[in-house]
Symmetry: D2
Subunit: 361 residues, 4 copies
């Protein structure tokens, strides 16, 4: 269980880091959506390893093959399966951990849970799985663009203690991809790059925060009670490798406020009801109100470091795990398209659910 | 959609704040669990309004009636439905908002989504719905106690800017219920009480944080990829009314660390593999590792304040919403049993899923 | 598991034959549907015991209470829960089978499955559960009537060897309820009544067939591959107590035909594409084609007979089960509204799913 | 929707008849199952076209590629995806129906439902999809063999009016595969072969029945109310292309019996409770009782005939559909492994669900 996400626009991913392929099956993609495989490839390129010296040097072309669900460039309403072949596996790099548990990885817990595990590169627990999410998210984005036009942004707003103080409204979100770090403030981006590069040279890793924004949202998306829009976004984000926290709108800072400061007054603008402030983060009672949605996602420092660490092996004997393999010193720059992809998947699903909310649709 | 939670141990809640009843149907409760309805009633008592002067004065006995699934005090494996009758509705208090949208409530978004809404006390969006969660959680707790004995704690660790600096390991968690605020540090609890009471007198509200701890966890719970244990806990918490953020283990603070500081080294203790530190919060790769699980849940200041606020009505005309009704100046003390209940529901579900993970169970 | 049906218009039933109540929770009922509780009560009346001397003499008013999801006579889009209190339980009638297994009942299998069972009147396995389905089906019918107007018919077409040779097109379906047997051919209905009454006097039971027809269907309902419309209808029917077989369109008789005889030629009629014959039963490739849907449902003779039968008890000792309790000599007359209800639930669900099939809805 | 089956042992199939590949993703396969890909290939060989002159002459090696979920020959508990490449597509054969609707096919209904369709070979509605089911079923069989040893049989018991009067208990089920028709009675098999061959020469098609038997079943599988074992088996069978009817145990014939004849008396045999007769077909109250499960599945004559037929095109103009393509004159011989596969998938799923039924498993 656990490899599926969504209720109507539903994805199921499969594949191990060093198996033959990573793939995803999308069920519930409506018929009639023009599918541009170049756009899928473009998003995969944003996530691809080896983009700069601050990302892992694993080399994967990440070429997508569409196996089903598209005919003459248009979705047919049937499941759309896609596979990406793994090519640059260096499985030998991992033979030393066949019997050892890497600290703060999923080695031990997979072993306990299943009694067996594909230890090569973390197997199913590897962040390589997210290539499937990005491919599916690229399809969700195309659907949304053709259906109602919501727009997805994500950027790096913190690395270690380097924190971008400006809010998203004061940034030019079109500049995100102009810098390898994917922070739209050039000065801060340079500093972050330097910090990550230093950490890399120290054979260490560091954490960070990604801020995401969804613009041009219709009101009414999200379901009351358990499937609130922010709860589902939160789960989507927390399911990304290395994520430790999620907050939306005023978030953790909002707790210090009084209700009288925190509430967002309503007013009429043209034929639309709007709020004067947006501490709600575009979501009230778990349902979008038409204002921008924004949230923060906290990523821990990657567990794989190039240093020796204390651990135990399967037999419970003390062992020293040595740092091998190719990994990112800081995941946030490459996680940006993943955060966007998961956002688009959540919104696509709720949009379709919304069609079933009223007698007359 | 959206009123169900869980995959095997699955709950569905129903009912509006001012309708005849709130209820919950539990599917997937295994047969053979001794059900003590007093324990359910006890948990409801912890959540009940009117406990002290810092909670809402609505008076509800919150008496549970079990309609099915229990025979001679033991669960039968069939759906267990429970209802709690609403008694102290003062629906007249709400007639003034039949056509108005209260700021930062779900009035506007429900209207947009459904084209119709039960405006009395927020209808389905009211926190009164959580009485059903607490009842179901009390059943989950009994199941867990009889199956493997995990223990659930939650307490108030922050109100406004008043923050408890001690971690949970330095607190006596058995003292949580000794104080109306549900903070196990008496001194801090007194301060928090005072602050809430002041806010109440100012006809205002304030936010806070609940910290939760799950002890005596087996390893292996949680499913890889999308249904990671912390992602599911996160969704569960974010689905509670007024929650704006979730973090587990090192959380948002962990991002500032280096991987070499953050990683939890493994060692052998007796016949058990343990970690020397627990920045992972008891979860690695989305699966429990047997260490304590701990996380923080951020609650915004309640939206209902006893002050006049700017808003609009259904027709888009400017309106003044006046503060009426009976509400909590700060929700965290009463939200403690809700956080515990949701934790127990998540763990009960994953425990049952885990039985299907291996060929030989 | 197993007490829920449907994906979007989803019902969950609960309750035991001799527990406090039977109930149903409907999730996914769209907002804006006018709900007439008299119509629900009317359908329950059609299923109610004690209608004539050929049905069980258990006396239940079967009064419905709506607990949620309806405000000012209109559905709000939130879960609609309903309960029917059990009143005329004579649980003492069942104390003799607390330790015995009635032949061809679910006593033994429930005991094996759960290790415990509510033996009173069959507990959860009793056909009393279907009262909840009829209530939910009555809501589905109202939704469908207001949304697109499909019409549901079901009638008794066979009792024992008494078989109505006319097809549904040669019958007046408005006469179904004019006779206690619910066969629209008066002559045959009289014969069937006589046969059932004889069987009753012999303290025995007998089987029968219900034929169902759905008229005024739009094309496009049903999902390819596993959730074909007829597969889902089949499951719905086979889930009704005592059902042993299902066939649609040409059914079991169709196997003897050649493809050239069996195929339904297409032609244009006005602006609609139609078929000249309808051996497909209104369904092609699992999807409705706009022609009438029709199918047969086979019911075995009820297992409860008023005669002594050989069996064993929980300890494996030989035992004689004596016939007690109040039961129907033939279930088909009272099963007619149940078949209709399940049909309506299937169609309501697929109708809503269909809204998500295309980019532009 | 509709391309997934199962709740815990869950399969999702994808792919079109003339697309690049057909595939299946299995979620919920427990870890630790030895996977023999030769056995998967063996089952695919039983379903493969071109086995004799009475099956379609499309040539497909149907080679399986396992993409994930298996490591060193053992399942890892993660999703197991498999693909089969399509090789012998002759898509040109279908250009004539790009705008025409073949009678009793899914062409018209797909067009109505989705507004677009992959017309080549029926696209997603083609029986080629069942290759994915057989692959998944072969995995389910291996899991079941290693877990508890239930055995699956299916055979042709009727073709046109040629009906095998012997029941399964009087047949040698090990001889099923000895004859191209897959009827274990050699004499009858020869007659059936002749009939199918005649029909083929007439460029026509004919229907038939498959009888299935599941032996060595444990008691307790199947869930009460909606997910009854026979209801789920029924849905599984009705979801197979060309199926029009399903009956289990005494089936449609049982309706003529009295309850006193139909009931299966219990007795003790060694340490096992058994029934003297088995009109229940091994299922009581929707739950297996440990006796053999048996059921019949009715297949209509295949819709594709090599004759000209009246129809209409997309514009509603009269059209003549001419018989082209390569198809089976009678599907039942090749459908035998499909019926077995679906049976195994149902049983695997219920077996895993059963592990969650009791407090102490």
């Amino acid at each position: 269980m656990g490899s599926s996400f969504g209720k109507i626009f539903k994805i199921s991913t499969f594949g191990e880091s060093h198996g033959p392929a990573i793939g995803v099956n999308i069920e519930g993609l409506p018929a009639g959506v023009k599918i541009d495989s170049n756009q899928i490839q473009f998003e995969l390129g944003r996530r691809r390893p080896g983009q700069s010296r601050i990302t892992t040097q694993r080399k994967e072309a990440d070429e997508i093959e569409i196996l089903s669900g598209v005919f003459e460039g248009v979705s047919t309403g049937t499941p759309m399966a896609m596979v990406i072949r793994n090519k640059d596996q260096k499985s030998k790099d991992y033979s030393h951990i066949a019997n050892q548990f890497r600290p703060s990885h999923a080695d031990y817990t997979f072993q306990e849970k299943y009694g067996v595990r594909d230890y090569r590169g973390g197997g199913r627990s590897s962040a390589r799985e997210t290539v499937a999410r990005v491919a599916a998210g690229a399809v969700a984005k195309q659907f949304i663009a053709q259906a109602f036009g919501a727009e997805f942004y994500a950027y790096v707003s913190q690395v270690g203690s380097l924190k971008l103080e400006k809010g998203y409204v004061d940034l030019d979100l079109d500049q995100i991809d102009d810098h390898a770090v994917r922070c739209p403030d050039r000065k801060m981006a340079d500093k972050m790059f330097q910090l990550i590069d230093e950490v890399r040279k120290d054979q260490d890793t560091i954490g960070g925060i990604i801020t995401a924004v969804i613009k041009n949202m219709p009101a009414g998306l999200g379901e009351p009670v358990f499937d609130k829009l922010h709860a589902t976004l939160g789960k989507a984000m927390l399911s990304i490798n290395a994520v430790k926290g999620f907050e939306y709108g005023s978030g953790f800072d909002g707790i210090k406020m009084k209700g009288s400061e925190h509430n967002d007054a309503f007013y009429q603008e043209g034929d639309r009801i709007r709020t004067r402030t947006n501490k709600s983060g575009g979501i009230q009672g778990g349902i979008s109100n038409g204002e921008d949605i924004y949230f923060n996602v906290a990523f821990k420092p990657v567990a794989t470091i190039m240093q020796d660490q204390e651990s135990v092996d399967k037999g419970g004997n003390t062992a020293t795990v040595s740092g091998k393999g190719r990994h990112d010193p800081c995941v946030v720059p490459r996680a940006v398209p993943i955060v966007e992809a998961m956002s688009a998947l959540v919104i696509a699903d709720f949009y379709l659910i919304t069609r079933t909310n009223k007698l007359n649709n």
